[in-house]
């Protein structure tokens, strides 16, 4: 009995329990005492009793059965492959599993007399649309058939047990129905627990992010020393399989980190003045009609996906800058097609709405009394802004700049398309440098074995990026909180 079918049956039993419970609650309420809960709460409690324990058992059974069968296959494969002389137990176990999955798609008539050799079996499987790796050997066929049979047996037992538990739960819930029973309280407690567990998903996500990258990073630091990684100045990963002894290449973080910071700096140099000045103009000078047109237009800039910016930089801006520099320098271009300037410029334009909206909130939060006082003392509007409002808003603006910087550091698609992939250390903004995010994408979208340092380095880079942006966000919040003046 498959998991889906069992799940469906549990749901049907639960819904049936709801309706039976509700009608029973209506019947029991003869008007003598005041009923504590409305009838649908009694029905809901019966449904929860029917479904919750049974679903928990179903999930646990599925996980346990899969783990048990996998371990069984691995053990048998270890025994047999020692005899047959195959190399890697994990790969062989994987082949057996694919074969088992293919066998499960055969008709019962074909499955009951399986051919003994892959040569006869392969066409039967191909008819069902299953193609297997050519390494699949003949001895794996009885293994796979056995595993299938065992899995089916375990699935049947589990399915029946779960259905039985569900029915028992429904009967228990229904038996409790009486007029003064506090069904609503019990149901609401369950709902409260589910709301709480939904909110813990945020913690689970953070824990998942850190742990998922941590284990791979630890494996990586087993193969490449952390000092070489964090302080190395050459990024040159070679294509070598794990443990093959061939040169693994060098994994130095410094060129990537320098590229990330340089591009972020150029982006901030574009975004902060433009964003801040437009926020100041819009909140202080602009009339309502102008504001109602310009604000949505700037938000339009924020809504454009970053890949569009990246393609624009790659196809239009990069060549234009290169041709411009060729025209200026009469012949040979000094700005390359993919350069820090291109990527930084486009990223800066992308960040303008971020800076603008954050600064707008901060500037409008400065109390009107300060503006009025300054104007009353004879300052012009721009002097008020420059000498009173901006200094008052400074902590908030610094926080906004830090948040923008952390967004610039974590940005991927613009730099993948507009900056280069060459990891070099240079101070020239007209050359190409690459960033941490580009290398994460490069290392993971190739055909690389999963445990090789070339792939694991992506996780090391990822965890570095995560912690850098985390620290920047925390510092930004701390600055805002510490230096914010309370005016009221």
């Amino acid at each position: 009995m498959s998991g889906y079918l069992t799940f469906l049956l549990i749901m049907i039993i639960g819904i049936a329990a709801f309706f039976v419970g509700r009608s029973r609650a209506l019947a029991v309420d003869t008007g003598g005492q005041k009923a504590h809960s409305r009838p649908h709460y009694h029905g809901a409690w019966a449904m929860l009793c029917a479904t919750m324990p049974a679903l928990a058992l179903l999930v646990a059974w599925e996980i346990g059965a899969t783990a048990y069968i996998n371990r069984d296959i691995s053990n048998q494969v270890a025994l047999l492959s020692a005899a047959a002389g195959s190399a890697n137990t994990d790969v062989t176990a994987g082949l057996v599993k694919s074969l088992a999955h293919g066998l499960s798609l055969l008709d019962p008539a074909q499955a009951s007399n399986l051919p003994k050799t892959m040569g006869e079996l392969a066409p039967l499987l191909a008819d069902k649309g299953v193609t297997l790796a050519p390494d699949t050997k003949d001895y794996m066929i009885p293994l796979a058939a056995d595993a299938n049979a065992q899995f089916n047996r375990i699935a049947w037992i589990g399915g029946l047990a779960t259905i039985a538990l569900s029915i028992l739960g429904a009967l228990y819930g229904l038996s409790q129905i009486a007029v003064r029973v506090r069904a609503r309280t019990k149901v609401e407690k369950v709902v409260l627990w589910s709301l709480f567990s939904a909110s813990t998903i945020a913690i689970l996500t953070t824990v998942g992010i850190v742990l998922s990258m941590l284990f791979q990073t630890i494996t990586f630091f087993g193969q490449v020393s952390p000092v070489n990684f964090f302080f190395g100045t050459v990024w040159d990963p070679r294509f070598a399989s794990a443990g093959s002894g061939a040169s693994q290449g060098q994994f130095g973080l410094i060129p990537l980190l320098a590229g990330t910071l340089y591009i972020a700096l150029v982006a901030l140099l574009v975004a902060v003045p433009v964003g801040l000045m437009s926020a100041v103009y819009m909140s202080e000078y602009a009339s309502k009609p102008v504001r109602s047109i310009v604000k949505p237009a700037l938000e339009l800039l924020a809504g454009i996906p970053t890949i569009v910016y990246g393609i624009f930089a790659l196809v239009t801006l990069g060549p234009w800058l290169r041709d411009l520099s060729a025209a200026l320098y009469s012949g040979s271009p000094f700005i390359q097609g993919q350069s820090i300037l291109t990527a930084g410029l486009v990223m800066g334009v992308m960040l303008i709405p971020v800076v603008s909206s954050l600064s707008d909130d901060i500037i409008t939060a400065v109390p009107q009394a300060m503006r009025d006082g300054s104007l009353g003392l004879g300052a012009t509007h721009s002097e008020t802004i420059k000498r009173v409002i901006l200094p008052a808003a400074l902590p908030g603006i610094v926080g906004a700049v830090l948040l923008t910087a952390s967004r610039a550091i974590g940005e991927t698609m613009i730099v993948v398309l507009a900056a280069g992939v060459a990891a070099n250390l240079t101070a020239n903004p007209f050359e190409a440098m690459t960033t941490i995010t580009v290398k994460i994408v490069n290392q993971l979208t190739g055909d690389l074995e999963f445990n090789s340092p070339q792939t694991l380095v992506a996780f090391a880079l990822g965890i570095t990026l995560f912690f850098v942006t985390l620290v920047m966000n925390i510092v930004a919040l701390a600055i805002v909180r510490k230096y914010r003046e309370q005016y009221e």
């Binding site: 433009v274 890949i307 393609i311 952390s406």
Partner: protein, 438 residues
């Protein structure tokens, strides 16, 4: 008495005004205002340039050059042993490759005997021409032996040349479109056989190695599937978490930890979520690579903080009087929240959800890492089938070598921007319509 007018009274001389530099300061004021206007204009001009470039380079992707050929379904080539009546699959497996170039040669009125000319004839038409001819015959087997006019696609290079995107001043050896083919193209166009038609295949086809057959259909289905998963997961979990945090959470360390985590997750780069999806959902749990469900779960984890923050703002905007009135009439706290507060906060929640969905629709980086960069040519049936997404498709086409793929990338960007604009406008309209001033 003589009238004393203001003009006849002696007036003391005005003291010289102290120079407080007012002219300089007004000039500085005007400059400051000009900087502000310049900043805004810079942003808007960049936006305009970007939109104009995208539209200008992309709108040609919606038209495709077709050629109407008189095709002779020669029975000697297709079914030499005359088995088609008994075995219809003979029609499917026959060799249609020769028919289209022959028809083209017949249309041009040339005898193609030498190899270079034959090669140019073959390269003029799309490789999919033989599939179009096969489909026409299989649908109507009575065409066997007849000569019919069938529209087929031309190859991508000729399509680009017809749209004027090929630089013909480059010497012939350095370009893919040869002079002879240009002559044919002009001749056929003047006869009316070669024309541009609306490229409906762009919206229906999947990924293809031939630019003229490539489309965003599969990518759109993948994107829609993932958006549905995000809508269900992120909305349910986000609203549940927000309700708990706003209404029920006690002020203790666990609540602080949850809130700190949500604020941090809102600022985590999206590529880190891709690493999470790869590491946990694909490697640890074992879901298939490039499946829509993996992308959907990853994107919903990414959208969750946005939805939580928007929902909390919407829930806290509901005035306390409503809550107290409900409690005063005897509702329990849970009933108060679900029957009174949540419906009133719904418009704000919907707006936040639509904006979160729009962000998730345009995300590319996490999807690249979970394996959606594969060549997916078939429509995904269930969420565990391999699929791709619209932004990823754009990325793959932007990286492809042929010029025609770049044109299609811009066309796909136009479609993506239209969807995003529609979603944002819907959010704004909903917000204006349901906004209540308490």
């Amino acid at each position: 008495m003589t009238d004393i007018t203001a003009g006849s009274l002696p007036v003391a001389a005005r003291p010289a005004r102290r120079d407080i530099g007012i002219k300089r300061r007004y000039a500085a004021e005007a400059r400051f205002k000009a900087y502000g206007i310049a900043a805004i204009i810079f942003g808007l001009v960049f936006l305009a340039i970007m939109l104009v470039t995208i539209f200008g380079k992309g709108y040609t992707a919606f038209w495709q050059t077709n050629i109407t050929l008189p095709v002779t379904y020669d029975a000697a080539i297709i079914d030499p042993q005359n088995k088609s009546a008994a075995d219809p699959s003979v029609l499917v497996k026959a060799n249609y490759e020769k028919l289209a170039p022959r028809a083209l040669a017949a249309k041009l009125g040339i005898e193609a005997k030498d190899k270079p000319t034959l090669a140019k004839l073959k390269a003029f038409l799309s490789d999919s021409a033989r599939i179009q001819l096969r489909d026409a015959l299989v649908n109507d087997p009575s065409l066997m032996g007849k000569t019919v006019d069938i529209p087929v696609l031309v190859s991508a290079n000729i399509d680009s040349a017809f749209k004027g995107q090929v630089d013909l001043s480059v010497p012939e050896t350095r370009r893919k479109v040869k002079d002879l083919q240009i002559t044919w193209m002009n001749q056929l166009a003047s006869e009316g056989a070669l024309a541009q038609k609306f490229n409906a295949g762009f919206f229906v086809n999947g990924e293809s190695a031939r630019p003229e057959n490539a489309g965003i259909g599969v990518a759109m289905v993948g994107s829609v599937m993932m958006m549905l998963i995000v809508l269900v997961l992120a909305l349910l979990i986000g609203v549940a978490a927000s309700i708990y945090l706003e209404e029920f959470a006690p002020k203790n360390r666990i609540t602080d930890l949850i809130e700190v985590n949500i604020n941090n997750l809102a600022a985590v780069p999206s590529i880190v979520f891709g690493l999470l999806g790869l590491s946990v959902f694909i490697n640890f749990i074992g879901l298939p690579r490039g499946a829509a469900i993996v992308g959907g779960i990853t994107l919903s984890l990414m959208t969750l903080p946005t939805i939580i923050i928007a929902t909390r703002a919407a829930i806290s905007a509901v005035p306390p009087s409503i809550r107290q009135a409900a409690l005063g009439l005897g509702a329990s706290k849970m009933q108060m929240v679900f029957h009174h507060v949540l419906p009133l906060a719904m418009p704000g929640i919907l707006t936040g959800t639509i904006i979160g969905l729009a962000r998730a629709l345009g995300e590319t980086a996490p999807l690249l890492l979970i394996g959606m960069v594969a060549f997916v040519a078939n429509y995904p049936g269930i969420p565990t089938d391999a699929s791709t997404a619209l932004p990823v498709q754009i990325y793959m086409w932007a990286n492809a070598a042929e010029r025609a793929f770049a044109e299609r990338a811009f066309g796909a960007i136009i479609i993506l921007l239209i969807f995003l604009m529609a979603m944002n406008i819907t959010a704004i309209i909903l917000r204006r319509k349901f906004e209540r001033r308490w």
